[in-house]
Assembly symmetry: C2
Homo-oligomer: 103 residues x 2
């Protein structure tokens, strides 16, 4: 399976309300994408210095599942409506994980 | 529980051998830190554009566990010997996850 990790640093004008709305929208999106075996997202707890404001961790079965998720109309809709204009910086990686992986 | 996510972009002079050595060192480190419930790290599979080269995902019980991991002598040793000189950019976040979370 594949763990997709993404960290985001917001633009200065992003508000707490924007982040709350985005978090709900991403969770609703994830609930409707069957390829997502597991999905967590949210504002960082900021327990350590890290330079990022928000994170996403998603588990999919394989590359096709990853593309189905990231290329979905639902993901595009959240990006266009909210996420796209909020991002100052984004970093993403994919790591292989065991089939027992769950978030 | 807490999911700690970190993404790294390397400096231009970092080699594949550096990354392989770092990956082994981080995994050995993680095996010796009881507070780490779950730990995965590695070079990104680069399946999607993302701007980062390497990722870490670690699950700990709580903030004390997170600090025990990140402030451990073992983590400091890997940072000083390898990781510190490789980093061009790092982004890290912490997200709350269910107790069933496992990587």
């Amino acid at each position: 399976m594949i763990l997709h990790l993404a960290t985001f640093r917001w633009k200065d004008d992003v508000t707490a309300a924007d982040v709350a709305e985005l978090t709900d929208a991403l969770r609703d999106m994830a609930a409707g994408i069957p390829e997502l075996r597991s999905y967590v997202c949210g504002e960082s707890l900021r327990l350590r210095p890290g330079g990022a404001d928000f994170g996403v961790a998603a588990i999919v079965a394989d590359e096709d599942g990853l593309n189905a998720y990231l290329d979905s109309a639902a993901h595009a809709a959240v990006y266009e409506r909210l996420l796209g204009r909020m991002i100052a910086e984004r970093a993403a990686v994919q790591l292989p994980v065991e089939s027992s992986a769950w978030l």
